[in-house]
């Protein structure tokens, strides 16, 4: 039941993509249905096999890159649409002819089907990726595609599809489905990239002394400069990168000139022609408007994923007189369940939050519940990875324990047969060195 609930955005995206393709290639519905369904089955099967036989996150990376390429394509198409709408007509006779052939429609539907199928397969991991599941999913996708294409002809006849609108709409549906899966989500990594870019940009200014470290820059000034280090910059920057192509397509629709009517003698006829052109322009704006709504839904899914994180409440621990913290492997908490277990250690008015984790490889790791670059919002665990709550970066379980980036800061420990031994003072000091420093950076920007 829970899985069926999680499949809703995936099938919604599939239905939407088929609807867009059906409207974009009128008269080619059978080709869209066949090629799209074949692509879906192919993408699903290939991903099942890749996930089974390729190690780690590589299959997810491939799919993520493909969806990312879709975003780049969307940018290119939207910029070209604006360029063409200003009257500088770019002759693309071969491309336009090809897009209107059966082969063109088929390739477009096939590529979309492969991507949607591949994204859908990522929802199933391990034993879930079985032959019956594959057959069931393909059957559901084919039935849905046929139903949508049958219903499409009754759906708002005034809603016209055009190349740039179709691209934006298809990418929007791909992002809607991929953002529902943590390891395929593109928005959160994009916010990180933007945030790091802004951070590095400001940093370069300091390095080149364009912003001198001078008493003139008091704490009030630093509050503003600190804005460029914050999470909000990443969020808004990523939003701009996502939504600008949609706005460009809408702009292109608005920039297209109305037909020349001055030669029509009869006023009513002239106005009717103008009204028809204006009506068509308005109906064309519906596509980018809908795409914007779908993008917003994808962003919402990315920020508030329907994933239940494993995030246990920290258990208080104390150190022995020699300063050692001991956590038994078996006891009230089973440390060998491949889940992170959080603890809170207090000593002399100072405290440190950390977790113990046994990775699927059997490797033990003890880490601070914070990283060296983000505010100490802590980590949760889901879908074979831990996630930094602050920047929403996913860290595969096998790499937890390695230092750097947004990985949790590792803490020295000794794993013995009975349990995990940690030096309390080292733990407290490491917390102080890293976590308090990042808090100051994030809050003051200095």
């Amino acid at each position: 039941m829970a899985l069926a609930y999680k499949l809703i955005p995936l099938f919604l995206a599939w239905a939407g993509a088929v609807m867009v393709l059906g409207r974009g290639f009128p008269g080619r519905r059978p080709m869209v249905a066949v090629a799209g369904s074949a692509g879906y089955a192919g993408g699903l099967a290939a991903t099942f096999l890749l996930v089974r036989f390729l190690p780690g996150d590589l299959p997810f990376g491939i799919i993520k890159d493909a969806v990312g390429a879709g975003i780049i394509l969307m940018w290119g198409v939207s910029v070209a649409a604006v360029y063409r709408s200003t009257g500088r007509d770019v002759p693309l006779p071969w491309g336009e002819r090809f897009a209107h052939t059966r082969l063109g429609a088929g390739i477009c539907a096939l590529a979309t089907g492969i991507l949607v199928g591949a994204i859908c397969a990522c929802r199933f991991t391990g034993a879930d990726a079985s032959v019956p599941v594959f057959l069931l999913l393909v059957l559901a996708a084919v039935v849905l595609a046929c139903a949508v294409l049958a219903a499409e002809r009754f759906f708002f006849s005034s809603l016209t599809m055009y190349p740039s609108g179709m691209t934006v709409a298809l990418v929007a549906f791909l992002l809607l489905s991929s953002s529902s899966i943590l390891r395929l989500d593109l928005f959160s990594p994009l916010t990180m990239k933007v945030m790091k870019f802004a951070h590095d940009f400001v940093h370069q200014f300091f390095e080149s002394m364009l912003i001198p470290d001078h008493f003139f820059f008091n704490s009030f000034t630093w509050d503003f400069i600190g804005f460029f280090f914050g999470k909000q910059v990443g969020f808004w920057g990523a939003l701009i990168i996502w939504f600008v192509p949609v706005l460009l397509v809408a702009l292109a629709v608005n920039l297209v000139r109305l037909p020349a009517v001055a030669h029509i003698r009869q006023g009513a006829q002239r106005r009717k022609m103008l009204a028809a052109a204006i009506r068509e322009r308005r109906s064309r704006l519906v596509v980018p408007a809908l795409a914007a709504v779908i993008f917003a839904a994808a962003v919402y899914q990315s920020r508030f994923p329907s994933v239940e994180y494993w995030d246990p409440k920290p258990v208080s621990v104390t150190a022995s007189p020699s300063g050692e913290i001991f956590i038994p492997k078996k006891g009230e908490i089973d440390l060998e369940d491949e889940k992170l277990h959080k603890y809170l250690f207090k000593q002399g008015g100072r405290e440190a939050r950390f977790f113990v984790l046994m990775a699927p490889s059997g490797q033990w790791t003890v880490d601070l519940d914070a990283c060296a670059i983000c505010k100490p919002d802590g980590y949760g665990q889901a879908e074979g990875a831990v996630l930094c709550y602050y920047c929403r970066t996913l860290i595969p379980l096998d790499t937890v324990g390695k230092p750097g980036g947004c990985n949790p800061v590792p803490v020295p420990f000794t794993a013995k047969d009975d349990g995990i031994h940690i030096d309390g003072l080292t733990l407290i000091n490491r917390w102080g060195e890293t976590v308090q420093a990042t808090t100051r950076i994030k809050e003051t920007g200095k």
Binding site: G267, A268, K272, A275
Partner: protein, 227 residues
């Protein structure tokens, strides 16, 4: 011989037990000016409303141009009225808080898009070039009716319907309006169907039909209209 723009066969309209229009066979040629006369309650306005797509008949058939009005949906009827018909009412039905030119532009708006220059030109054609910015309350009855005519012709209708357009006007204004309609018809070549009580006004048409209790009782050609 011009083709028929209107053809009715066995056209009826009933309101409950009351039969306002009894089976009517009528043909109106393209470009013809048809006057419809009869006493009150004889079915003149009912016939006019049905031909203009404002009302639906109870039975029979009605073709206006290429359109079978009985087969049209509500949306189809609205499109038909927008593209085919211009109507002049006895009571003007101008929007009181809009100026003359804005009243004409309102008809353009519902048809396609407003064009002020064209609306001004239409008002100038009916002799109201100096009253463009006046509201209906600031115009005489004859002037208001001329605004109505400008509004009715602005969308180049094929069919101009008049429901006693001179009913509220004095003799001089009536003559002015009729003369104006004749000139416009000569230029625009639309078909006119005009309901009137006034025998003199009826003679401006090419033909007059007489209705009595929903039945077409008489029909005559008018020499003045044909001239």
């Amino acid at each position: 011989m011009a083709a028929n723009i209107i053809e009715t066969s066995g056209l009826t309209r009933s309101y409950g037990d009351i039969c306002a229009l009894k089976p009517l066979d009528l043909r109106v040629a393209e470009g013809e000016w048809l006057s419809v006369m009869g006493h009150s309650g004889s079915g003149k306005s009912t016939l006019l409303n049905i031909m203009g797509g404002l009302d639906r008949p109870s039975g029979g058939s009605l073709r206006v141009g290429e359109e079978d009005l009985l087969a049209l949906t509500e949306d189809g009827l609205a499109r038909f009225r927008r593209d085919y018909v211009g109507i002049i009412f006895q009571q003007h039905h101008l929007v009181p808080y809009l100026s003359a030119v804005e009243n004409v532009m309102l008809a353009q708006y519902f048809h396609s898009v407003p064009d002020e220059a064209e609306a001004r030109s239409a008002l100038e054609r009916v002799g109201l070039g100096h009253r463009l910015k006046n509201r209906p309350g600031e115009l005489s009855g004859g002037e208001q009716q001329r605004v109505c005519i400008a509004r009715a012709i602005i969308n180049s209708p094929k069919l101009l319907l008049g429901d006693e357009p001179t009913g509220n006007l004095d003799h001089k204004s009536t003559l002015m309006i009729m003369e104006l309609l004749r000139e416009l018809r000569a230029e625009e070549r639309f078909t006119v169907i005009m309901v009137t009580h006034n025998q003199e006004v009826a003679t401006w048409g090419d033909r007059t039909i007489y209705l009595d209790d929903g039945v077409l009782v008489r029909e005559e050609r008018n020499e003045q209209g044909e001239s």
